[in-house]
């Protein structure tokens, strides 16, 4: 099984340890993984700002980098969703379609494709799970609190397999953190307030770590936590799942 590792541009530049953890984790689980060196960005930053018409170059580059793989796996629900919903190619729509159908967020790849039953891992901390909205409501990685439907959570299904990890139950289990791409600066006041409120919920449950599948949410929360000089740390779920 040939897996192309798709690492979001900001993760590549700021959080290399998440890329490393994702790579090692997939390798441990028996995948043949490579990271196409010419990948840049999925184009979501432009598209969500209303500039989807400028993403043709990103799309073409993405298709060129990832069309050869059986699966494309990404440690970000948000970037995965963008590719799934919006990737197209004038030159090679068949390849774009193949990618759209075979791009997976890391945890859903583990639960749905690899059907992972157990994970060797040790993380003796109290952890709060921050659901990214794109992962949850977009990719349906876990059930949404608004719907009258049976609960499930792919990331939590994996986290509960990790030794020592105590997962807390939040008061508002799937409220948005307020990152929202450019929203975090164009609507700075609301964005920060949302982040502070999300942190309050985790803090009230005495977590050591806030984890999640999207580092963009966590980067925003981390920025606020650091400013508050809080002891709570953020950690991407790939790092926990690769914690041995």
């Amino acid at each position: 099984m040939k897996v192309g590792l798709f690492i979001p541009c900001y993760v590549d530049q700021f959080y290399p340890q998440i890329g490393i953890a994702s790579l090692e984790l997939l390798q441990k689980l028996g995948c043949e993984v490579s990271f196409p060196m010419d990948q840049t960005c999925c184009g979501q930053p432009m598209a969500n700002s209303g500039y989807a018409h400028l993403t043709g170059g990103c799309d073409a580059n993405f298709v060129a980098n990832f069309s050869e793989f059986d699966y494309i796996v990404c440690p970000s629900g948000s970037c995965t969703l963008h590719v799934k919903d919006h990737l197209h190619s004038k030159e090679n729509e068949a390849a774009a379609t193949h990618i759209r159908n075979n791009v997976y967020e890391l945890t859903e790849f583990l639960t749905d494709v690899l059907k992972v039953e157990s994970i060797e891992g040790n993380f003796p901390y109290k952890v709060g799970m921050h659901q990214s909205c794109h992962g949850q409501r977009g990719l349906k990685l876990s059930q949404m609190s608004e719907l009258n439907a049976a609960p499930f959570s792919k990331p939590e299904q994996l986290l509960t397999k990790i030794k020592g990890l105590e997962l807390v139950s939040l008061s508002r289990k799937d409220e948005c953190c307020g990152f929202g791409g450019t929203f975090c600066v164009t609507e700075e006041a609301v964005s920060v307030k949302m982040g502070q409120d999300r942190i309050k919920d985790h803090a009230a449950h005495q977590v050591d770590y806030i984890t999640g599948g999207d580092m963009s949410c966590l980067m925003h929360l981390e920025g606020i936590l650091k400013r508050q000089k809080s002891n709570i740390k953020v950690i991407h779920i790939a790092e926990i799942l690769n914690s041995i």
């Binding site: 900001y10 998440i18 060196m37 432009m46 794109h134 009258n148 609507e187 920060v192």
Partner: protein, 462 residues
Amino acid sequence: MKNTIDHSTAAATFNKDVERVNWHDETLWFVRSKRDKSAHAIPEWETLRETASNIKNNVLSNMHHYLQEFEEKAKENGIIVHWAADGDEHNKIVHSIIAKHGVTQMVKSKSMLTEECHLNEYLADNGVEVIDSDLGEFIVQLRKEPPSHIVLPAIHLKKEDVSDTFHEHLGTEKGNNNPQYLTEAARKELRDTFLTRKVALTGVNFAVAETGEFVVCTNEGNADMGAHLADVHIACMGFEKLVPQRKHLGVFLRLLARSATGQPITTFSSHFKKPREGQEMHIVIVDNGRSTQLGREEFRNSLKCIRCGACMNTCPVYRRSGGHSYHNAVAGPIGSILAPNLDMKKNADLPFASTLCGSCTNVCPVKIDIHDQLYKWRQVLVKEGYTPTSKTVAMKGMSAVLANPTVFKIAGKAGRFVIKNMPFMVNNSMNAWYNQREMPTPPQESFREWYAKKQKESKDKK
């Protein structure tokens, strides 16, 4: 038109009073929680939403027929039917009915349409005094403010604010903040209004094509008190309020109040089919941009909205920015997809006042894809030139770099590109992030640098 303060500026002001924002957020979250509890108690809830959505899709696709059917039946029932192309014509029609009866006062129950058309201001300019009888609307009217929520018009106010307002206007005890006491004072005041007004205006929640009747839902009974005591009842409706048949009301009445406040149904769901003996009943059917929206394929289904307000209560941005920051009669997520249709320039900021979290879409009882439409409006507004040039320049620069791996790699030594260009930095001094947040520390090497090194090492080993 007054100068419009854009959403983010108004929201920043709203956020200066942290305690009030917390209160606003928690109060609306409480309403959202009541909605969840109520919705989750109905096993077939999701089927109901799907059914309602399909009924409304049918209505939108057959509007031309249903409107004529409704008009014909309403006329047979003895109702006088008027048509208004826009807000101005709507206001003139209402005024002409009032003027014909030679009165200068009217009582009005909640109608977001009349807010949209600015009817109160128009009538005031023409010497007609309007009193809003819904308690929340009565409060904001006394304060000369617009409602901040379509279902909970005074949700931005604390009981102390209401107490001060009532003390000033109704002479209630200063400092008596008891909601029971304050409501009683309004009841006494408005009872007198109901008993003395010859003309009553109401909104319309649903209009039935098959029978020519219309339904008005209230908890207070204010629409009924007005309509059943007045000589003239004027009901104003956007044309999208239609449902095909009476039996379809069952679906919508099961969804409306549960979605809005978590109640199983509003206290009163009144079906007006014919004027009572000796009474005159009018219906004003209003377009005001709706037929244009009907023609926008990507946005047409926003017209399915039944004005329950669930998307506002669940919206994490609305809860922390308040209804007034949306500078539109209908605030929140649904307002943000309706408003650009009315005025793209004035409302270009609204589709961006969202994180696209998608909670609105999930609570919507008629399954409007609200957050997808917010995304689509962004594309339209950019293409139509309603975003700042500087942003466009920055986005073009960024997309050029991201489309070119070689340039990106040069630009992207650990952290450099992101710090300079990342979407959340575009067209902003660093301050907007740094103001209340730290930036991540750039690492020694990027992932791709680490990966290249590893690849080289393993090749060298071989």
